[in-house]
């Protein structure tokens, strides 16, 4: 059952790109102060060419708060969704996402370690680098967690998928426990900052964060595209992919590294946002099959759209307060996850998951 079997890939990309523009305008315009599309265009024209007269408060709001937040949403949404597509193809299982294999929790622990220990150790002398150190710590945390999971599941030079998922549960528990402990011993503002990691928020968005997220997402996206064909071949099985010329072990390690890059940088900036990586690739598969090239490009676009709209909803539902975005993604994502699980149970081994 493929909903858009006859639609060409390019028209799907075009439609998603148009929706992306709509999402950007909606997300950048909505909030405590509403900015219309016309006002946004005149603000941009003023900034770029200096022509026209604009409200300086709106200008500051738009360029210092709204725009970086919206763009950060786009990059993070794309990163998490592409990462989900990669993990699902790697595991040949539709219910896998980066949160499940320890990457997110490990990254959060890395970031929490930096928050608590960073300020009263020699790191404080490097405070000018703190913007850089936080993502680096998150990357290392995510990498350590993912590598531990990988180490446990790699036996006889092959990756055992069920062991990997079980090891992921254990590593998640350790990382979450350690993060919780750090929150407990931390001074109050630090603890609040750590708690925020577990639910995710875009409230802290600024242009530095956008630069980090942009760099890691763009690099990760193009690296992923290079491996799309090999990931397709991997769907036949390790041995068969090998017969088609794919170095499967190197492919797996590369995919894990790309996944860590995408997820850890995003997590260090906005916290843990669960289930996005699960749902987005799944929707794309329902539309038009599982070619990984399509899934990677489509996930980047659709993930950006969905996360920026979700963040916009978070800003308005309980205004003037803000809902942590992780709550909304969990409320939508967890039921979808259960539905998927049920489908997998019913379909069993034969006939394929989506048949």
């Amino acid at each position: 059952m493929l909903l858009l079997k006859k639609t060409s890939y390019s028209s799907i990309y075009l439609t998603l790109s148009l929706l992306l523009v709509v999402a950007i305008v909606l997300s950048a315009g909505t909030g405590a102060v509403y900015l219309s599309f016309r006002e946004i265009s005149s603000l941009i024209a003023h900034k770029a060419f200096g022509n026209g007269i604009v409200n300086p408060v709106h200008e500051g709001l738009f360029f210092q708060i709204r725009l970086p937040r919206t763009i950060l949403c786009l990059f993070v949404g794309a990163a998490l969704s592409v990462s989900g597509a990669l993990m699902q193809s790697l595991f040949r299982n539709p219910i896998v996402e980066p949160g499940l294999v320890g990457t997110s929790a490990g990254s959060a622990l890395g970031a929490a370690l930096f928050i608590v220990l960073g300020s009263n150790s020699f790191f404080s002398h490097l405070s000018f680098m703190s913007e850089l150190l936080m993502p680096v710590c998150a990357f290392l945390g995510g990498l350590v967690a993912t590598v531990i999971v990988y180490y446990f599941s790699a036996s006889l030079n092959r990756v055992n998928i069920s062991v990997m998922i079980l090891a992921g549960i254990a590593v998640n528990a350790i990382a979450n426990g350690a993060t919780g402990f750090l929150a407990y011993i931390a001074r109050d503002p630090q603890a609040r900052s750590i708690t925020f990691w577990n639910l995710g928020s875009f409230a802290g968005a600024n242009w530095t964060a956008v630069a980090f997220a942009g760099a890691s997402t763009i690099v990760g996206f193009f690296l992923s595209l290079r491996f799309a064909k090999s990931l397709n071949a991997l769907q036949l099985g390790d041995t068969e992919a090998g017969y088609l010329g794919v170095n499967t072990e190197r492919l797996k390690i590369s995919i894990i590294l790309i996944n860590t890059l995408l997820v850890s940088i995003a997590t260090s900036l906005v916290g843990i946002i669960a289930f996005v990586g699960l749902i987005i690739p799944h929707l794309l598969r329902l539309m038009k099959g599982s070619d990984n090239r399509y899934l990677i490009i489509g996930s980047a676009l659709l993930g950006a759209i969905v996360l920026s709209i979700t963040d916009m909803v978070c800003r308005v539902v309980i205004a003037p307060a803000e809902m942590p975005i992780g709550i909304i993604t969990a409320f939508i994502g967890a039921p979808v996850f259960l539905w998927l699980l049920n489908r997998m149970k019913n379909n069993g081994q034969k006939g394929g998951f989506y048949a």
Binding site: M1, L2, K5, S89, R92, N93, P94, K229, N232, A233, Q235, L236, G237, T239, E240, G242, Y243, L244, G245, V246, N247, R285, G289, S290, D291, R293, Q349, G351, G352, F353, Y354, A355
Partner: protein, 264 residues
């Protein structure tokens, strides 16, 4: 291509041991270029192990495999993928994929990102040869076992498809007809047999003795991890050999003007 007349693939003192058990005893065997080889034997006789070793999927405990007089380990994965195709017994596909995309995977060793016109032509010819061109847009997972097997054969065919140069190639078939009805069993094996005319060597594992007798140029009978009988012509086959290898009572008939027939 090789100087020695006809030696395409050669195993030298090949053995494979796992967890202290010899799945393949020390074996030396020569596969002739452009011949249809059939490997037979009871379950656990080491047929699949031998095939995986010869195809380069697993590394031998001792010995070496020479492909076109060169050690298999000295080929890159891509070089091998362009000269050797393998049709396996089972494929478990989780995600939806169209039959056309599935067959196109056979061309993966030849293009970078986007298939060119030649790949598309070969994909279509390979599908036509197996009679699955009508399934082009179907989801692979909705096919019956037999249809899926024909689609996989198309994929492997497109992988070893001969272009102008007729480079020497090999195709391995691991129980290729297990899900097919009688008509398509003959069709698939005839397609494989025709490949021998295009500088392609065929090595197949089969379970049906009569089918093997009909197509094999050479028959290898395995038992307990060794090649017990190596028959370079079907005429050499005897009741004793078959009873020894399969451990069943059977009779071999020799109808006039027809290949031998086995009845149980």
């Amino acid at each position: 291509m090789g100087k020695k007349e006809g030696s395409m693939l050669e195993a030298k003192d090949l053995s494979f041991k796992i967890a202290g058990k010899h799945l393949l005893q020390s074996t030396s065997v020569n596969f002739r270029a452009n011949a249809f080889h059939v490997i037979m034997g009871a379950n656990g006789a080491g047929k699949s192990t031998l095939l995986k070793l010869m195809a380069g999927d697993i590394q031998p405990t001792t010995g070496e495999v020479l492909f076109d007089s060169k050690d298999l380990r000295n080929y890159t994965r891509l070089q091998l993928a362009r000269r050797r195709g393998v049709l396996s017994q089972h494929y478990n596909i989780t995600f939806p994929i169209t039959v056309g995309d599935m067959v196109m995977m056979g061309r993966y060793p030849y293009f970078d990102n986007i298939p060119n016109q030649k790949d598309i032509t070969i994909q279509q010819q390979a599908m036509k040869l197996m009679g699955v061109e009508a399934f082009y847009d179907r989801d692979y997972n909705t096919l019956s076992g037999g249809e899926a097997q024909k689609v996989q054969m198309s994929r492997v065919l497109s992988q070893v498809w001969q272009e102008e140069t007729l480079e020497s190639k090999i195709i391995f078939l691991d129980e290729p007809v297990s899900h097919l009805d009688i008509k398509y069993q003959y069709q698939l094996l005839q397609v494989a047999k025709d490949l021998c005319q295009q500088n392609i060597t065929v090595i197949a594992i089969l379970h049906d003795i009569n089918l093997a007798i009909s197509f094999a140029d050479r028959l290898l009978l395995m038992k307990q991890g060794v090649i017990k009988y190596d028959l370079s012509s079907i005429g050499e086959i005897s009741t004793e050999m078959l009873e020894d290898v399969f451990d069943v009572k059977l009779r071999l008939l020799h109808p006039q003007g027809h290949k031998p027939v086995v009845i149980f």
